[in-house]
Amino acid sequence: MRVWKFGDDINTDVITPGRYTVTTDKKRLGEIAFIEYRPEFGKNVKEGDVIVAGNNFGCGSSREHSPVAIKAAGISAVIAKSFARIFFRNAINIGLTLFVSEDADKIDDGDEVELNIKTGEVRDITKGITIQAKPLPEFMQKIVNKGGLVEFLRSGGYDDI
């Protein structure tokens, strides 16, 4: 898995500029991820690749198009020092895997990594180091374990909590 590295405060206009989001077509959204900010991303991203970022990833608009676009582009997980809260909720709701780790900046653009989605362990093969991401709070894990908010609410939802 190749790493696509981004800095701090990557906002939703950078991920999915507003004038490209007049659609709910996931395939189209996958094609426009970072279209202006980093045009080579869309051309070269491969299924399973990983985004590593700094603080406040996904800040700005509430548009769910941003995590949808990242997931549709083939990204298997985003590892950041912190996430903007609406982006964080949206990603959990649609089943895009996120990991929070203070050590995200030890990983560089282009590094090859292996990811254990269950444990949050990220092994940087290029550097020969491993970083450990924080587990999600139990409440959120219940939603993730059901496969997202829709499935969670379809199968008992808040009554089971």
């Binding site: 906002n11 995590p67 939802g157």
Partner: protein, 412 residues
């Protein structure tokens, strides 16, 4: 135990005696809103869960991000949302204002829990409610259940004291705060605004303060309701919650607003804040007065006083979008719209206007827009090579006349 206003509202809505920051709660939602850009995905999520909204009077749909539809793709999304409104018998369906302004004019009361599929839903907290932005699937879930889960946020207190100088407004105050706190400085936190300045401020100015809580990463903006709030609500009533004296805050800012000068936020991020003097003389191509931040009557009045009898510079186009139809009519009756059009402004129908770049008023490469909106991200209003600079209505109006960025105090 001592609690903040945010903790009290969330405890009340989740039927608990008390909650503390860090708790997870499932709260009853007073209103759930989505707009033309976010409703289609919310409806897709909703339909996978159920086929009937929890309450047709508590789900609100607003077309404001691209109304009237500028493209076939936009019209198709409108069609999808409109069909949903008709099918569900939703009573709160609007095409004549910015969603947040319509919510404060028609729905939100103190003590409410309000969620909207728009990040600036933090605005409505200025009426003493817990209001926050969510994504579409979350809103779809609330449309289905009337409930939403929250992690109770820690609170930051902004104690604002003193009086602003002439020519300095709530927008300058909040820009100054965002500059100090940073784009992630209030991440996940409740931003509670209090102090003499806030008590003396109009409801309109309080809305401007809370509107930009999200630009610091905040979960909600909130201001304790008072008599001024109740007067604004007309007949609506609510439940007034107040923070206890010894409530716990993770951070407290003491700010004397008298020291604040007119501010600007320079591209490409909102916390890149400087006094207007840092960019005085910079030529502009577009000036924009409107949005959920500064499209209210008070803002139009300030701009009109500066522009009345003057002309917008030949190199500048001035666009004005009142934030709602009620504001539009009030500005019309008071002669403000006539004065603005005489000065050279184009007055547009009440929507988000050019702020999100999905409608009229987009920018060409290399152009500079001075705007009263809340975000200056690259590419937001058109070309990613255009610059967006944020300022108060007074700074925008004065600069439109000058054709370049100026200190509004010289034009009053």
């Amino acid at each position: 135990m001592a609690s903040t206003i945010t903790e009290k509202i969330l405890a009340n809505a989740s039927h608990q005696k008390e909650v503390v920051a860090g708790d997870f709660v499932v709260a009853d939602v007073s209103y759930a809103m989505a707009h033309d850009s976010t409703a289609p995905l919310a409806i897709e999520g909703f339909r996978k869960i159920t086929d009937k909204v929890f309450d047709k009077d508590r789900v609100i749909i607003v077309f404001d991000h691209f109304f009237p539809a500028p493209t076939v793709a936009g019209a198709t999304l409108h069609q999808k949302s409109r069909n949903f409104v008709m099918e569900q018998g939703i009573t709160g369906f609007f095409t004549n204002g910015v969603c947040h302004q319509l919510l404060v004019e028609k729905y939100v009361s103190p003590g409410d829990v309000v969620v909207g599929a728009d990040s600036h839903t933090c605005t409505e907290g200025a009426l003493g409610a817990f209001t926050t932005g969510l994504g579409s699937t979350d809103i779809g879930g609330v449309m289905a259940t009337g409930k939403c889960w929250f992690k109770v946020p820690e609170s930051i207190k902004f104690n604002l004291t003193g009086q602003t100088q002439k020519g300095v407004y709530a927008k300058d105050v909040i820009l100054s705060i965002v500059g100090d706190v940073g784009a992630a400085g209030a991440l996940y936190k409740a931003c509670e605004f209090t102090g003499d300045y806030v008590k003396d401020a109009s409801v309109s100015s309080r809305l401007t303060l809370c509107n930009m809580a999200i630009e610091m990463g905040g979960k909600n903006g909130v201001i304790e309701a008072d008599q001024k709030t109740l007067d604004f609500l007309g007949g609506r009533t609510g439940k007034i919650f107040k923070s206890d004296k010894d409530a716990v805050y993770v951070d407290e800012y003491e700010i004397d607003v008298k020291d604040i000068e007119p501010q600007v936020a320079l591209p490409p991020v909102v916390d890149n804040v400087e006094p207007v003097s840092a960019v005085e003389g910079k030529p502009i191509d577009q000036a924009y007065l409107g949005t959920c931040t500064n499209g209210r009557l008070e803002d139009i009045e300030v701009a009109t006083k500066i522009l009345k009898g003057k002309k917008v510079a030949r190199n500048v186009r001035l666009l004005v979008t009142p934030a709602s139809q009620d504001i539009y009519f009030a500005a019309l009756e008071l002669g403000y719209l006539q004065a603005l059009v005489d000065a050279g402004a184009a007055v547009c129908n009440p929507t988000c206007g050019p702020c999100v770049g999905r409608h009229g008023g987009v920018l060409a490469e290399g152009e500079v827009c001075l705007s009263t909106q809340n975000r200056n991200f690259s590419g937001r209003m058109g070309s990613p090579k255009a610059d967006i600079i944020l300022a108060s209505p007074a700074t925008v109006a004065a600069s439109a006349i000058a054709g370049k960025i100026v200190d509004p105090r010289d034009y009053m």
